[in-house]
């Protein structure tokens, strides 16, 4: 029993540490003429309510694949929806022809290389993978 409690405690610490330290960064191509976005700006782009960056450049939001930790954190913090609410939200738009959800671009590394290669894309990755190939415009603590 004590052993179980210990492992539970360890698990809790690990999960908590994971949640506490996994900072997610919203990234764009370095050439984009926008240096920072508000949470509202980002949320509007990812929920299909806006299609361009402030300033007018076309924006193509890119999700991470379902099940990724960054995706769950991003959806909860910015879109204010858990995985199933997020799915239900988009199914309301998809099946009415009123919108298409952001494409899934893979994991942290894959999304970073997509953004680095596409001036119109916006994505999010774990801050640990951020480098000079992309520009951070918003951070989820």
């Amino acid at each position: 029993m004590k052993k179980l409690l210990n492992s539970l405690a360890l698990l809790f610490v690990l999960v908590a540490a994971n949640l506490a330290f996994a900072e997610v960064a919203v990234i764009v191509h370095p050439s984009l003429g926008v240096d920072s976005l508000t949470e509202d700006d980002v949320s509007r782009l990812f929920l299909g309510k806006a299609k361009s960056f402030p300033g007018g450049a076309q924006a193509v939001p890119i999700n991470q694949n379902e099940g990724s930790a960054s995706r769950d954190k991003f959806n909860e913090a910015v879109c204010k929806k858990n995985a199933s609410q997020y799915k239900a939200y988009w199914s309301q738009l998809v099946f009415t022809g009123k919108g298409t959800p952001p494409k899934d671009g893979g994991d942290d590394a894959a999304v970073k290389s997509l953004i680095a290669a596409n001036p119109n894309m916006i994505g999010y990755v774990d801050s640990s993978v951020v480098d000079a190939s992309v520009k951070v415009v918003y951070k989820i603590p």
């Binding site: 199933s84 099946f95 298409t100």
Partner: protein
């Protein structure tokens, strides 16, 4: 030589397909396929009482199945084509294109669509068949009862931000022909002409308000021997001029809706009120509403819905016909015909939605029905998914 050429062509095609599959981005940009399904059924508590929502047996029947596929193809940069194909068990899985339209992205926020569209009557009209997208197994029957779900025509849909609020506006014009059944099972055929309407929404993060108004010139043939005999009797009587007051022949139908939808993540709520009226006919004025509240606990959503049909029977159908032993059957017939189109019912529904996995929900629902014609309980279950 021919043969070789053909082989080359096939190779070329196969190569093109393979190339497209190897570059998922290119493929994804060209054709999008999404699907939804609902598998389920139900049973009633008392076979000898009124049927409800199509259920009348005490044995569980799994006969509410639906599979839908939506295909969207990009025709050009600004134009796309969408078709939604649905197979329903009620119609022996015959595949029908319930929607098929072309979309022209007129501006960043505005689009024009032409073809067969969903009529934006209700808050959930657009995704009525996608059970996964809402809490219930199907939207409340008392409010979601009109058979005119689709329209052939054009619409304009625009979204915008008004300060920090999100708004949308939709206007359409079209026509439609459809077989349908009244709630008492009487069948009919409806033609809608000069059908038009507007729907607007206004909301912010967790709430959304919606209002809509529609009108059309409605013609309905009701397949009822009693009614046909009544109209014939009236036409042969000295009161033949009253025929126009009861038949539904290019009469103006109006439909109004207001609704509110709330989703805070933990709490959900929805309410709608609708009124449908066709003046100078035997149809009752339909006054319907529902209120739903629910709470999310982990992957579960528990909800309670109260819905009500409080129709107003058309009055004075027999006005102007002097009462006498000879006219009494006619007067009774007219009053009975008006009364037959009345629905008075209150339903309390308890339901749960369990998000079993991403894109899949299992739902249970109990409806406690209190109809002026009798009481009933309906138990139903459904597995609904999107993919």
């Amino acid at each position: 030589m021919m043969l070789i050429k053909n082989t080359h062509k096939k190779h070329g095609l196969a190569l093109a397909v393979a190339t497209m599959m190897l570059t998922p981005w290119a493929l994804a940009a060209d054709v999008n396929v999404s699907g939804f399904l609902s598998v389920g059924g139900g049973m009633v508590d008392d076979e000898n009482s009124v049927s409800y929502d199509g259920y009348s047996e005490e044995d569980l029947t799994f006969d509410r199945n639906l599979l839908g596929l939506q295909v969207t193809g990009q025709v050009s940069e600004k134009i796309s084509a969408t078709a939604q194909l649905i197979a329903r068990s009620e119609k022996d899985y015959e595949v029908t294109a319930e929607w098929a339209y072309l979309t022209w992205q007129a501006s960043d926020n505005g689009k024009v669509r032409a073809g067969r569209l969903r009529t934006p009557l209700y808050m959930y009209s657009d995704y009525l068949d996608v059970g996964y997208s809402y809490p219930w197994i199907s939207a409340p029957n008392e409010v979601y009862y009109l058979p005119f779900n689709n329209v052939d025509g054009v619409d304009y849909y625009v979204t915008g931000a008004l300060g920090s609020f999100d708004t949308s506006f939709q206007a359409y014009f079209g026509s439609f022909d459809s077989e349908f059944a009244f709630e008492d099972g009487t069948e009919g055929f409806a033609s809608l002409r000069n059908q038009m309407g507007v729907a607007a929404t206004f909301g912010k993060d967790w709430w959304n308000f919606r209002a809509a108004y529609h009108q059309a010139d409605l013609t309905v043939d009701i397949f009822s021997d009693d009614l046909t005999a009544l109209v014939a009797g009236l036409a042969a009587s000295p009161f033949a001029s009253k025929v126009a007051d009861i038949t539904i022949n290019e009469d103006k139908a109006t439909f109004g809706q207001i609704g509110l939808n709330i989703d805070t993540g933990m709490f959900v709520a929805a309410a709608e009120h609708v009124e449908f009226e066709v003046k100078d006919t035997l149809l009752a004025k339909n006054v319907r509403d529902y209120v739903m509240v629910g709470v999310r606990v982990g992957d579960f959503l528990f909800h309670v819905t109260g819905s009500k049909a409080d129709d107003e029977i058309v009055e004075g159908l027999a006005d102007g016909i002097p009462a006498s032993p000879q006219t009494q059957p006619l007067i009774n017939g007219l009053n009975a015909a008006a009364a037959a189109r009345d629905v008075d019912r209150e339903v309390i529904s308890f339901g749960t939605r369990w998000d079993v996995a991403s894109g899949t929900a299992l739902k249970f629902q109990v409806d406690d029905v209190d109809d002026i014609k009798g009481e009933q309980k309906v138990y139903s279950v459904a597995l609904q998914a999107v993919f």
